[in-house]
Every structure is written in C-alpha cells, then in structure tokens.
C-alpha cells in the first residue's frame, strides 16, 4: 500500500474513460476497506449524463464481482472471524455490498469538500475543462489535487486558465481501458506533484511514463501524427483507386504488414473520431507543425459518424462498420459498402497475435528477420508499409529530440504498453531516411 485512500471524486464518471477510472479506483478502495471495514472511504461519482449513471452502477457491480472472484483468497482471510460468511458466494456478496457503500453518485458539488483527489475525465475540450475545473475548485479544499485525464492539453495551460497552483494539477492520462491497461502517462509540473503521481501509479499498479508538458505528450504525439500521415497517404493512394479502397488498403497494411493489433483507421475508430479530431485541433494550436487537422475526419463527424465505444465496450461505426468486433464494411461518401480483402504477402506468414505469445528475446530476432524480408519485397503494399514504418520512426525520434519523452525507452514503453505494439520503430529501423 502506497497511501491510504480517503475521499476521491471522479468527474465524467459515466463516460468511456471516466467509468473505467471509477471502477479501477473503487476496486482499490474496496480492497483496502475489506481488510479494515471501519475505514472511512468515499468515492464520489459525478456526471451530467444522468441516463448513463444507472448503467454505470450496474457496470461497477459487475466489475467488482469479477475483481472479487480473482481476490477470493484475500477476501476470505479478511472475513475469517465472520462465521456467517462461509461460501465464496457469501464472501463475494458481502464484499459487493460493502464496496458499493463506498460509492456516492451525485450532482452536488458540495460533496467534493475535503476530497484528496478529483479525477477529471470529461470531454477533450479546453474550454469545457477549464470552465468545469474553475467551477469545481470553488468547492474543494486547498489541499485537493486535480488529476486530469487529458491526453493532449498542456497541463500548464490548464493550471493558468483555471487559476490552480502548479502543485495542485497533474496530468494523469490513463489508456483505454483503465482497468486492464498498464500504462499511465504522467505530466507533472512540480517535484511535489510528480512524487504524488509516482505513488498513485504504484498504488494503482500502473507503469508510469513521465512526459514533458507538450501538447499530445508521448502517446498522441506519436499516434496523431501517424493518423495525419495515414490520411495523407490515403489521399495519395486514392489518386489511383477509390478513396475507400485506399483507406482499406492502408488499414490492412498497417495491421498486417506492420504486425500491429489493428490498422491505423480501425484504431481511430477505437479511440473515437471525435476524440481524435479534438486532439488534432489542440495539438495543431500548440505545436509547430503547419497542419495536423484532417478534413477526412471532419467529413465523417459532419455526417454524425464518431466511432468510439458503447458503454458495454462494443465498437461504434466509424471508418468501418463492425461485425463480431472486426471491420465488415467501409465508409464511403454514399454510405457503407462491403469490405474487400487486399492480397498481401506476409513474410513467414507472421501475425501480431502469433508473435505476442513468443518469448521477447526470440521475437526480437524474428522481427529483425521479418522486416529485412519485407524490404526485399518489391510490391506496392510492402512499399506503403515501409514508408509508414519510417515515418513512425521519425515521429518517435522527434519526441526524444524535443524531450517530450525522456528517452527512446520511454517512447518504446508507451507504444508497447499503450498501443500493444510488438516493437518500437527504433528496434527495426536502423536509420530514419527522411523527415
């Protein structure tokens, strides 16, 4: 245990990330309370979306039960003296009841008084975040630390515009889904808040990677630039074929030939087209790149196509429609049409899934051999893959050169833990050929 939980709030609790953060913190709190039932612990969940808050309660319960089932040995020890709790079912039921007593769902900001932390997980919109945090700060104590889940907005900007001392605001960016994802990007403005960020990451059993306070940080600093490049490539390739065919090809190439869990456009769908668009606008404003915003994303948004997930985790429509979690149709300006498979020659027939089960040191050599083989292929698809890979390496180097990431190792951690990449571009690209 790295610190004692007391009173915590989550703002935006019923959103995709907010609900995951709420569940994660509730489980940690409940774990401590199980050993010490008289402990005063409270988790306050706030959201303007009342409809989703009922759904949130159900989700929290379901995830608490799954957590309790895994912790049954510990929980039985905690209730050793309680002779009424005999079976695992009774122990888990008791745990669930006690844990849900920690939760308070409210709209009343007065409940936030004396909070240790407020986790902010509302929409990635500067004005909304600033206004909300400003309003909240009137209700909390001077010791309350604000942790923002922003994945792109500079923390110093939020600190200044909200009027919060830099010690009192910390960037604490969870990856999706917060319950399972090991990575958290931490952006601290002071040594004191950095120290708290480290403790909190340890308590939540996360791997913290510290980033410099530059828009996009490490994760989006790499990902959004890749998305922008993918859209550029799509425009280029669609000079010779239909746009949807270009998008589908680039998606397939980035998944299959670059050995990633999903293609770049499917990943945009996963993160959310609206979220990506917001982030692009923010990064566009605060970074020296001439352009990062993408008209292609705006086109989909204007048609109401946003991607992202439903609360149950199922994928919403975006660049693709999905069946059983896999892309089945592709967006065109005239509606969705069936996806056609592009024939790709994959060296050694490797797949991402297959390589995840191989020992890391053996996999390293396999990847070296793979990319050497890919370079020998003289197909259009292989060339696309390599161009994307070299660009990815360039973006990774940029993050280190501009000190957004402290080291290549930190970029690698973010890509491998946060995006489930099997390798960092530094591992397989000897020299980046261009900018």
């Amino acid at each position: 245990m790295f610190f004692e939980w007391g009173k915590i709030a989550v703002l935006g609790a019923s959103g995709k990330m907010g609900s995951g953060i709420s569940s994660l913190i509730l489980q940690k709190m409940a774990y401590q309370k199980a050993a010490n039932p008289s402990k005063q612990i409270q988790l306050i969940l706030i959201d303007i979306d009342q409809n989703n808050l009922n759904q949130l309660k159900k989700q929290l319960k379901k995830q608490l039960i799954q957590f309790a089932e895994k912790q049954i040995i510990y929980l039985r020890k905690c209730v050793e003296q309680n002779l009424h709790l005999v079976s695992n079912e009774e122990v888990i039921s008791n745990f669930l009841e006690n844990s849900m007593e920690i939760v308070e769902i409210t709209e009343d900001y007065h409940s936030l008084k004396d909070c240790q932390f407020v986790f902010e997980a509302i929409t990635e919109d500067i004005e909304l975040k600033v206004n909300t945090l400003k309003h909240l700060s009137e209700f909390v104590s001077l010791e309350t630390l604000f942790l923002t889940n922003t994945s792109s907005i500079p923390i110093a900007l939020l600190s200044k515009q909200v009027g919060l001392d830099q010690n009192r605001i910390l960037g604490f960016h969870f990856y999706n889904p917060p319950l399972k994802q090991k990575l958290v990007e931490v952006i601290a403005l002071t040594a004191k808040s950095k120290d708290m960020g480290e403790k909190l990451a340890l308590e939540l059993n996360k791997t913290a990677v510290f980033a410099k306070d530059v828009a996009g940080f490490i994760g989006n600093g790499h990902f959004i630039r890749e998305v922008h490049f993918a859209c550029e490539l799509a425009r280029e390739v669609s000079k010779e074929r239909a746009r949807e065919s270009a998008i589908s090809l680039i998606n397939q190439v980035t998944q299959t030939l670059l050995l990633r869990p999903m293609g770049i456009f499917q990943l945009v769908d996963y993160v959310g087209i609206d979220v990506c668009h917001h982030i692009m606008k923010i990064m566009q404003k605060y970074l020296p790149e001439p352009t990062l915003e993408e008209p292609l994303l705006l086109e989909l948004l204007q048609k109401g196509v946003k991607g992202g997930q439903h609360l149950d985790g199922s994928q919403k429509d975006g660049f693709f429609k999905y069946a059983d979690g896999k892309p089945s149709q592709i967006y065109t300006s005239n509606g969705y049409k069936d996806l056609s498979e592009h024939l790709l020659i994959v060296p050694f027939n490797y797949t991402w899934k297959q390589l995840t089960s191989i020992d890391a040191s053996q996999r390293q050599q396999m990847l070296q051999d793979y990319f050497q083989q890919l370079e020998k292929q003289e197909t259009f698809e292989a060339e696309l893959a390599l161009r994307f890979l070299f660009k990815s390496a360039f973006f990774a180097e940029l993050l280190v050169d501009t000190q957004v990431a402290a080291s290549k190792e930190d970029v690698k951690k973010v890509l491998m833990l946060g995006f489930y990449h099997l390798y960092s571009p530094f591992d397989v690209v000897k020299e980046v050929p261009y900018g």
Binding site: I73, R76, L83, N88
Partner: protein
C-alpha cells in the same frame, strides 16, 4: 460372487472443459446432449437394448444444473427403461464406484439380469470459484467449509501433500507428483476423448515442478497437480450371463466383475494419518480377498488421481508402493499399467462419472478397444473410485473373459 457378473457395452463422451480446443464456455452442449450421446453409444453395442433396471450417478447435479430426480432421465436415455425400476446414486467423486456396486447387487440378488448404468457431471455451468463451494459438499460442509481454502478440495489435498513432503522429503514428493502429471498427460494425448488430448505443452515435467504459490493458489500444490473442471457422461451395462445372452452381447465383448471391495469412512472425522488413505486400504484389501488373488496379479489399474498426491497415496494404501516409496514406483517400469486412459488428471474428472469411466476403460483395454491399447500381462484389472477425502471408496476387480 454368488454368480458371475459382467460389464459390457461401455461408452464415454468426450470430456469437455478448459484444455480441449473446441471448449467454449459460452456455448456448451446441455446435459441432455451428454446423456443422449452416452446412452446411444452403449445401446449401439447391444443387439436388444431391453434392460431390467437403470442406475444413474451424479454428485451435485442438484446444484450445478439445478436438476434432481435424475432417475427420471433414465427412460429419456433408454426408452425401454420406461416402467422399470430406476435409481439415482450419489457418493461424491466416488459416485461411479457406488453406482457400479449397486448394479452388481441387483444382479447378485436376482432382481435384475441386466442394469443400464450411467453417470455424468456438468461442472462448467458455474465458475470455478463457485464450483469450489458446491464440491465442498463432498466433505463435512458445515464444519469444514469456513476454515477451508477458497478452492476447498485442493486445500484439503494440499495439506496431505504437505504432510507427505514433511515426512518423506519435499524434492522427492514434488518430483513424484510432476512425473505423475507428465505420464497422465502423455497418456491423455493418446486418447481422443480425454480433456487433455489437445495438450501440446512442451516440458510437462517442468510444468509439474512449478513451485506452489500460497498467495495466488496453495502451498504444496500447483495447478498442474489438480484435475480440471469437466463436463462428461459415461455408461455401461452390468449383467449376469443370462442377461448378456438376452441383450445379445457376446461374452468376448465383456469383462467379468469378480469382486467388489467397499469401504466407508466417517465424514465427520479427520484422517488419523494424513499420509495414508486408510479407507482405500480397506477397500482394496477387501476386494483382493474376495477375488482371492494377490495384488501382484493385477496388471491394469485405474486409480482415482483427482490430485497428483492422491496417486501417490493410493499406490501406498493399495500396497503397490511401500510408504514413502511412490516416487520410486512411479518412476519405474510399472506393474500394473496405471491410468492408461490419462486418469482423472489427463482424461478429466466429471465428478460423479469418473468411477464408471474407469470401468469402461478397463473394459476397453481387456477387449482390445482402448485408444491407448496395451497388452496386459494378466487377465486381472482393478479400479479404485474414491469420494471425498478418502471417505467413500469402492474398488472393483475385473477379469478378462
């Protein structure tokens, strides 16, 4: 025995559970499917499947699938049992042995010439964490469950393993258990119906040597020491000589049940000596005495290895290995041939069904129908079916016809 009793027409379904490639917990066949399949499998081997009686064994169907009155399913499985006497039998994981014993009694009493015996269990209907509570009913629940381990029965046998280790040496015990695991999986890989048939792990012995972790599971036992959670059904015919004729089963397709050794321990009492299966000792010796053959005449054995430590203790309780010497015995060229089916560790353990499954495997070995066919050196085989913590034990001694 007062008259000759035979076993024939044995059938086992695939034993499904984690480990089988096709296992999908979200889409499992319902229990009726297993019952129908095993009945059809047995009846197909019988020219005229008109039995005098039916017996069905299951340990905890009332909780796993919320179904009791199981004898009501016998006419569903075998229509000719409609209007005939049907009985449900329960003796925890020793249910199979008790079901066989009840059928043998019916034949010996003259009440029946042929008995259709089925046994099954569906355990994948609940998560293992809750299944543990259900299976704890094989012990004295009211007095033992609260203080028991989260996974209960693994905890019970972990304590026996701990006592064995303390007495005979940690390394030696661990190696014996790992070797047992290795042998059972190797046998299961030769048996298409076994739960571990698809097991392709490279170094089984090393897996068996995994250091037990009391924080995540148990002291003294690792996951490889434990048989898995299984769904499966099995059936066989027990008949007199006249019964076989009426059913149209030739003698060469049957084996003779020459003796039963049955013993019950007091479930409310803890074992006097945790390194010794006292009830198994009684049951095996009774069976041998009734069969009038020495232990050394048994060339095929199916023993109840719900946990690897149980194999060591059963071998010593039976007399094949001296106390503390199971490790040497398991590592040697064994007589008898043991658990060629894969045993409970390899074939799987649908709790109520295992005893009958053991008899089916002895039948198949002696009639040349086994998947992992051996050449037994004598015509005698034995099964040991154990319920609870060495409480409800049946040994069945058979002879090739």
């Amino acid at each position: 025995m007062a008259k000759k009793v035979f076993a024939a027409a044995g059938y086992t379904t695939v034993f499904y559970g984690p480990g089988r490639n096709e296992f999908n917990p979200k889409s499992m066949p319902p229990f009726e499917h297993y019952l129908e399949e095993t009945a059809a499998g047995t009846c197909k081997q019988v020219l005229l499947p008109e039995f005098d009686e039916g017996i069905i064994g299951s340990f905890m169907s009332a909780r796993f699938i919320k179904q009791a009155n199981l004898c009501g399913f016998l006419p569903f499985m075998v229509p000719s049992l409609e209007g005939k006497p049907c009985t449900a039998v329960e003796g925890a994981c020793g249910t199979g042995g008790r079901a066989i014993a009840m059928a043998v009694r019916s034949i010996l009493s003259g009440l029946s010439d042929s008995v259709f015996v089925a046994a099954f269990e569906m355990q994948n209907t609940v998560k293992a964490v809750y299944g543990a509570d259900i299976l704890a009913g094989a012990a004295y629940y009211a007095k033992e469950r609260k203080s028991g381990n989260a996974f209960f029965f693994p905890g019970i046998f972990a304590m026996r393993a701990g006592a064995y280790q303390q007495r005979y040496g940690e390394q030696k015990t661990r190696e014996a258990m790992a070797l047992w695991y290795e042998k059972m999986i190797q046998n299961a890989r030769l048996n298409p119906k076994a739960q571990e048939y698809h097991n392709s792990s490279l170094d089984l012995f090393q897996l068996g040597m995994t250091k037990p972790d009391p924080d995540t599971f148990l002291p003294y036992l690792n996951l490889y020491d434990c048989s898995k959670v299984t769904d499966g059904a099995v059936s066989i015919v027990i008949a007199s000589e006249d019964g076989l004729k009426k059913l149209g089963i030739p003698l060469e397709a049957a084996i003779e049940v020459i003796a039963l050794g049955e013993a019950q321990g007091d479930i409310t009492k803890q074992p006097d000596e945790p390194t010794f299966f006292s009830t198994t000792h009684i049951a095996v010796n009774k069976g041998l005495a009734k069969a009038k053959i020495p232990l050394t005449e048994i060339s095929l054995l199916e023993l109840h290895d719900c946990f690897t430590i149980c194999a060591l203790l059963a071998l010593e309780a039976s007399g094949w290995a001296k106390p503390g010497k199971s490790a040497e015995f398991i590592g040697s060229e064994q007589v008898p041939l043991i658990n060629l089916s894969g045993g409970l560790c390899g074939f799987g353990h649908p709790t109520g069904a295992s005893g009958v499954r053991q008899l089916v495997d002895l039948l198949h070995q002696f009639t040349g129908k086994a998947a992992n066919q051996a050449a037994p050196k004598t015509p005698f085989g034995m099964l040991i079916s154990m319920g609870g913590n060495d409480k409800t034990v049946t040994s069945v001694i058979v002879s090739k016809t």
